[in-house]
């Protein structure tokens, strides 16, 4: 093994505004809960190297803006995602009700092997719970999603959510279901392809240079 990681998986985090997408990203990449971080207006990303079956995998995570008005724009970031974390807030049913729309986008805009994980966030606010575990669990089952409830605040299940997704993607890779092409969101690290930075902008660079 010549690199600290052998694969790069691209993840996107999607869901309504305020469900805790950015907090999940920060908790996972920095082990920090930043309660008052500004709304994401655009797309942020972070990376972390993880171990799956003793393989080092670099996760490249794109955190998108959840506002309805950006919907059309954020769609461009789905392309090439190996994993999609679909987040709702267990204390706000409205965010749960919107899942179908998000899921439709995710299904339409990613490839069939993209692993989609449903995350019910803010698990720490048990008192304000508005969506039961059972209900969401049934929804996940119906739609073939893996499901976990997490708290970006306490960190509970945050690691799990990201790693479980990675594990499933990796399994897909091993079973040969997924092509190792950059656009599939999975890149195998090797000497000729070590570009580990997001390539949306670079792809399009040629377009706007003219």
């Amino acid at each position: 093994m010549s690199f600290p990681y052998e694969y790069i998986f691209k993840y996107i985090i999607i869901g309504d505004m305020g469900v805790g997408k950015s907090c999940l990203l920060h908790q996972f990449t920095e082990n920090k809960f930043v309660p008052d971080s500004p709304h994401t207006i655009g797309v942020e990303f972070g990376t972390r190297i993880v171990d799956v079956n003793n393989k080092k995998i670099k996760l490249q995570i794109w955190d998108t803006a959840g506002q309805e008005r950006f919907r059309a724009v954020t769609r461009s970031y789905y392309r090439g995602a190996a994993g999609a974390l679909l987040v709702y807030d267990i204390t706000r049913r409205i965010t749960y009700n919107h899942l179908t729309t998000w899921l439709t986008d995710a299904r339409n805009l990613t490839n069939p092997n993209t692993v989609i994980m449903l995350i019910g966030n803010k698990k720490d606010l048990e008192g304000q719970r508005d969506v039961t575990y059972e209900e969401a669990s049934a929804f996940a089952k119906q739609n073939g999603l893996i499901f976990v409830e997490s708290s970006a605040k306490t960190g509970e299940n945050v690691e799990e959510a990201f790693l479980r997704t990675a594990k499933l993607i990796f399994q897909s890779v091993q079973e040969g279901n997924v092509d190792l092409i950059p656009d599939g969101g999975i890149t195998k690290s090797n000497a000729t392809n070590t570009n580990n930075t997001p390539n949306l902008g670079q792809e399009k660079k040629s377009d706007c240079a003219c």
Binding site: M1, S2, F3, P4, T29, E30, N31, I41, G42, V43, E44, F45, G46, T47, R48, I49, D51, N53, N54, K56, A65, R69, F70, A72, V73, R75, S76, Y77, R79, I146, E159, E160, L163, R164, K167, L168, F170, Q171, Q174, S189, A191, T194, T197, P198, L200, G201, Q202, K204, K205, D207, C208
Partner: protein, 725 residues
């Protein structure tokens, strides 16, 4: 170690991924083997790099791995525990004898308060037969090995033994330690007759005890008083020739161990007269005797066993006795007594030195040598896998953080730019400031949205569209909205709202969305005749009447302009020839759109006249529609054809045409005052009545003179023959 690794690999290939069991496993973090494997991989890689530079063209990655490796080593104390373990090293030249007396005096020394965790027992001259030397027969070792094992008190198991002719090394460990010993292996080096036979030489055994590596060498070096240099050379040859090849193909030498022990009949002598030696022994003056010892002097001068240490000797020389007696050699040869049998050690710089428990000789009389033993305390490093995994995770996390921190970052003064009111043909510019708040150079550029090719809507201009900032630097971006004839239709006719989202992309970093909004003031300019006749009320704050309701016959704005000129300027000299004033024309336009009367503003008649021309020019489609442009040119030579053409105009267009021609004819009737000629008017108005579609090739170049004439002719027919309408 090797077993564990193999197990792991096979596990991974049959893993079922989403069982809670696996998840728990992950919670515990990365396994020790995994870390080792990746770090081992690193070393290989370093090797490979030096050979195949082409294959590894990303030094950055290697640096990362090296960095992790170094950090992990640096933080070793955080995940290792130290434990004291004792090792007993015994050496005996048995002079070819078979076991005949109990070994308790040697191996079970009553003065020893603890049971050693490890026994390393070395023999020399175990087998002096030719078979052993020539055929490699090792059967003679068996009785000795059995004899040792039965003499060990406590639950010991044999780890490994290795024999080279008469040189035998056996390592025993307490049964409880066996599972923690890994990578046990042995090697031999012969330096005897002709430099290769096994009558002299060394055998070595190495192993890892938890995470401490130990290597033991038992050797028999060349004999005789004068052979000092030869013995030094033997030692170096043995040290050089003994190599261990680990499972993953790495070769390690004896010095690559935390603790290295060298025992055996090293055969160094004391170069003093026999009697003097014996006298000093009698007086127990070992100190002064030792100062003459060849091994001591060789080590002191750095000629042999460099870096090795020896516990202080406080016992009489162990060679040479008359077997079975306490008498030194009484034979003819009268060999001078010597400390042939020794125990030395060398601790790696990175490891903690041993503690000496004892260094003694033992009164077994089977041989012409007395056995010798030394016991030491070794600090064994025990890696706590959970702790190591945690430290490893922390290091990787630190690296991730560094990487995340080294991404460019910028702040943007506003994500939302509201232009408020935007008027036709009136540019408005807003500024936003981006600042590099990261630690690296930030390159930015605007990028198009998915499936789009342009960065923004056509009525918006961004400047600059790309740039670079050093940390803390700010750059001002200018956003300008300008709605002209070409872009106004979207708002005037199609009722689109004025907004857009821009994507500002930081190279290797995040993307920012910038929302643009504005309210376009609807205007009769840049509009269509068809649309305008659906506004009986001022266009600005009203919506068109439904298409099935009665429309105006001509746009009321057109009527207002013409009406004004008719009453106020028909006799003005230079009408339609002189230019208007831009500011005044903006005021007039405002009145037209808002329904305000012209009486509230002041302007010259020429501004109103030019407004008429500009109004017609701004129409999305001219009075003679694009699809009739070519027909019109073709018809221009014949008044009758022109009449036919005009009769085919859409209703509103026909009305407007009729209305304007009538007006122009009226204007011409005052040519005494206004000095207008039909030719002038025909030229001026033909360019706005009749033009090619902006999408057509004709519109790319200024029209040829012949075309200009044809256009003018068409209008001229109507101006000079009143009955043509």
């Amino acid at each position: 170690m090797s077993d564990t690794t193999t197990n792991n690999n096979s596990n991974s290939s049959v893993t079922t991924p989403v069982t809670p069991l696996v998840l728990e496993d992950e919670n515990r973090g990365v396994s020790d083997e995994a870390i080792e494997a990746s770090l081992d991989g690193l070393k290989h890689n370093t090797l490979k790099t030096s050979y195949t530079v082409l294959n590894t063209n990303n030094p950055h990655i290697d640096v990362n791995t090296q960095w992790i490796h170094n950090k992990l080593k640096e933080k070793e104390p955080e995940y290792t525990e130290k434990k004291n373990m004792s090792i007993f090293l015994g050496t005996w030249n048995v002079n070819g004898k078979k076991p005949s007396e109990p070994l308790d005096l040697w191996l079970k020394d009553p003065q020893m308060t603890i049971q050693p965790d490890i026994y390393a027992i070395g023999f020399q001259e175990l087998d002096l037969t030719a078979e052993a030397l020539l055929l490699g027969d090792t059967t003679r070792s068996l009785p000795w090995e059995q004899h040792i094992l039965s003499s060990l008190q406590g639950d010991y198991v044999k780890l490994l033994s290795r024999q080279l002719v008469g040189i035998l090394l056996c390592v025993y460990v307490k049964r409880e330690h066996k599972p923690h010993i890994t990578n046990a292996m042995s090697d031999i080096a012969a330096v005897g007759i002709m430099g290769m036979m096994g009558n002299k030489g060394g055998v070595a055994i190495r192993f890892s005890f938890y995470n401490t590596t130990i290597c033991i060498i038992n050797s028999h070096l060349n004999a005789h008083l004068d052979n000092v240099l030869r013995r030094n050379q033997d030692m170096r040859d043995i040290a050089k020739n003994i190599k261990f090849i680990t499972d993953d193909g790495k070769t390690i030498n004896i010095y690559e161990h935390d603790q290295l022990f060298w025992i055996g009949d090293l055969n160094y002598r004391i170069p003093l007269p026999d009697q003097e030696v014996k006298d000093r022994i009698k007086k127990k003056d070992f100190y002064n005797l030792f100062l003459q010892d060849q091994l001591y002097t060789q080590m002191k001068s750095g000629s042999a066993f460099e870096g090795f240490q020896e516990p202080p000797i406080s016992f009489a020389p162990t060679y040479k006795y008359d077997a079975g007696t306490d008498e030194y050699d009484s034979s003819e040869k009268k060999r001078t007594p010597a400390w042939c049998d020794r125990v030395l050690w060398k601790t790696a710089k990175t490891a903690e030195n041993v503690g000496i428990l004892s260094y003694r000789r033992h009164e077994l009389m089977t041989s012409d040598h007395r056995p010798v033993s030394a016991s030491f305390i070794i600090k064994i490093k025990i890696v706590i896998p959970e702790a190591k995994s945690r430290v490893y995770q922390d290091i990787v996390k630190e690296l991730d953080k560094k990487e995340n921190d080294s991404m460019p970052d910028a702040s943007i003064s506003s994500n939302m730019v509201d232009f408020e009111e935007i008027k036709f043909m009136t540019p408005v510019t807003r500024q936003i400031v981006i600042e590099n708040i990261g630690q690296v150079i930030a390159r930015f550029q605007f990028i198009p949205k998915l499936d789009e090719t342009s960065l923004c809507k056509p009525w918006l201009k961004i400047s600059p569209i790309a740039g670079m900032m050093i940390p803390k630097e700010k750059i001002m971006l200018e956003l300008t909205i300008y709605v002209d004839n070409l872009t106004s239709q979207a708002f005037n006719v199609n009722g689109e709202s004025m907004d857009d989202i821009l994507i500002l992309h930081l190279e290797n970093g995040k993307d920012y969305f910038i929302s643009i909004s504005g309210v376009f003031q609807k205007t009769c300019f840049g509009n269509t005749l068809e649309n305008l006749v659906r506004y009986p009320h001022p266009i600005r704050n009203n919506i068109p009447i439904p298409s099935d309701q009665k429309k105006l016959s001509i746009p009321k704005e057109l009527w207002r302009i013409v009406d004004y000129i008719y009453y106020n300027g028909l006799k003005e000299e230079g009408l339609f020839i002189e230019s208007g004033v831009t500011k005044e024309m903006e005021l007039i336009r405002d009145c037209l759109d808002s329904g305000e009367p012209f009486t509230n503003i002041t302007f010259s008649i020429h501004s109103m006249a030019e407004t008429l021309i500009r109004f017609l020019e701004s129409l999305v489609e001219p009075v003679i529609p694009f699809n009739m442009y070519q027909q019109a040119l073709d018809a221009s030579s014949s008044p009758v054809s022109c009449k036919t053409l005009v009769s085919h105009l859409p209703a509103v267009n026909y009305n407007v045409f009729f209305y304007l021609i009538s007006f122009l004819i009226e204007a011409l009737s005052h040519n005494q005052e206004n000095k207008l000629s039909p030719d002038q008017l025909a030229i001026i108005f033909s360019t706005v009545f009749l033009r090619p579609s902006p999408l057509s090739p004709q519109s790319q170049y200024p029209p040829e003179a012949a075309i200009v004439k044809k256009r003018a002719d068409l209008i001229l027919h109507f101006l000079i023959s009143k009955d043509l309408l």
